[in-house]
Symmetry: C2
Subunit: 257 residues, 2 copies
């Protein structure tokens, strides 16, 4: 399987601390050594890094750990391959343009019998995940347009996610740069940090941070992951079938299957 | 304006030497300090790096200069903004998926009156370049399909490029990972290196390389740029209106307006 990490914040915030924890699980404290990727929205643009090597020993991952890239929405994935070879084309997150925005997708799970019907968006690699992403965008393009109310787009996403969840494991991160949609079938946890900020210690590396000097009293930063990243904070665990829509660090819509 | 760099090779080859020369022109030996980007194909996957900062002082550019990423096709761009703000969404190269492949595009020039007709692909940022790229892909999607013979696709690309060239400056790099299409209206030069390999010296940095120990006798590596990168080699200068299609380091089709 794989592990996911996402961030939603109300001010551009770096991901160095969480990314450092997660990437240890890519070949050091965890077995997810078959590639990694991360995408940071900056305005409407997306800055991404992908590598088919183990994140724990990747030179590029090291740069992302130590070079603060500030973003309000970021999505990250470390891979333990099941469907599809180990190669760059199969490395999440996947990106496509829809309605003049970049959409970014990362998935943990497996829908082994999934076959994407033909559509405009096509997978480049051979993962079921990328085929699912293309299927989602083909549905949205077919049934909605850029002026469709957000509630309706999300309702359609939830219906799709529920259908996929009936076919296998489907833990999802999806963003259009404005909101971040998260869906859990098996494992997902989150934490929202806001004033008063304090210290936190990673589970996977001997790293402690004090968020207080790095933040302002108005900052709200949420992190969503497969497994909690810190050992001294209380994480909120998603229920199976639960989804949450995040914007600017806060949950703005939620529900459960 | 901007500067372009591309590589076509018959074996996975790194771009460190040429990239080091080009990126000096992004705020040091040249004025192209409004962002930079590079895309490396690895199989069907693409690894890309984008930054809205000056390449000459970018930490991420430094990593790309020193960390050998091996590819058979790579495209790079350093930007001096004219149309569109300085931001990540306006930073070349641009990427879209068509027929299950990633297409990568970088452009030097300006078509100030260009307005893209509506189509499936839409620009995310506000550059004329990205609008041109979307227009090209919309044309291809409309008039060709995945089984269209390559000659026909290229013929259509040439016709489009000739039409754009009638409206302004249009120096182009475009690849689908298999071939690299290059089109010149004002400035483009290329060099093909093959055995016997020798040394070369950059114009923009005090760097000399000896390609011989890094290559095999069968390697063919071509570099296409806006302005020659080395001071001790003979570069082949494109004519205005000239286009060349590269595959595995060699020109496989060519023509002139």
């Amino acid at each position: 399987m794989c592990e996911l990490l996402a961030m939603s914040a109300n001010t551009p915030t770096d991901l160095c601390f969480s990314f450092t924890g997660l990437t240890r699980r890519g070949g050091d404290t965890g077995p997810h050594k078959d590639g990694w990727g991360v995408a940071f929205y900056e305005g409407k643009g997306v800055r991404c890094f992908h590598d088919a090597d183990a994140s724990a020993s990747s030179r590029i991952a090291e740069v992302v750990q130590t070079h603060p890239i500030k973003s309000e929405v970021a999505l990250c994935h470390i891979r333990q391959a099941n469907v599809g070879d180990i190669c760059l084309a199969n490395t999440h997150p996947f990106i496509r343009e829809l309605w003049g925005r970049y959409w970014v997708f990362a998935h943990n799970g497996q829908l082994s019998d999934f076959e994407a019907p033909p559509g405009f968006y096509e997978a480049v690699g051979s993962t079921d995940s990328e085929a699912l992403f293309c299927d989602i965008l083909n549905h949205l393009r077919c049934h909605c347009d850029r002026d469709t109310p957000e509630e309706e787009v999300i309702k359609r996403l939830v219906a799709l996610a529920n259908a996929y969840a009936g076919q296998g494991v489907f833990n999802l991160l999806l963003s259009n740069g404005d909101w971040l949609f998260t869906y859990c079938t098996t494992k997902m946890a989150c934490i929202t940090r806001r004033a008063p900020f304090g210290p936190a210690r990673l589970r996977d590396a001997d790293v402690t941070i004090d968020f207080e000097p790095e933040t302002t009293p108005n900052d709200i930063v949420s992190v969503i992951v497969t497994e909690p990243l810190t050992s001294d904070e209380t994480w909120d665990i998603y229920q199976p079938g639960e989804w949450r829509l995040w914007r600017k660090g806060e949950v703005v819509m939620r529900g459960c299957r």
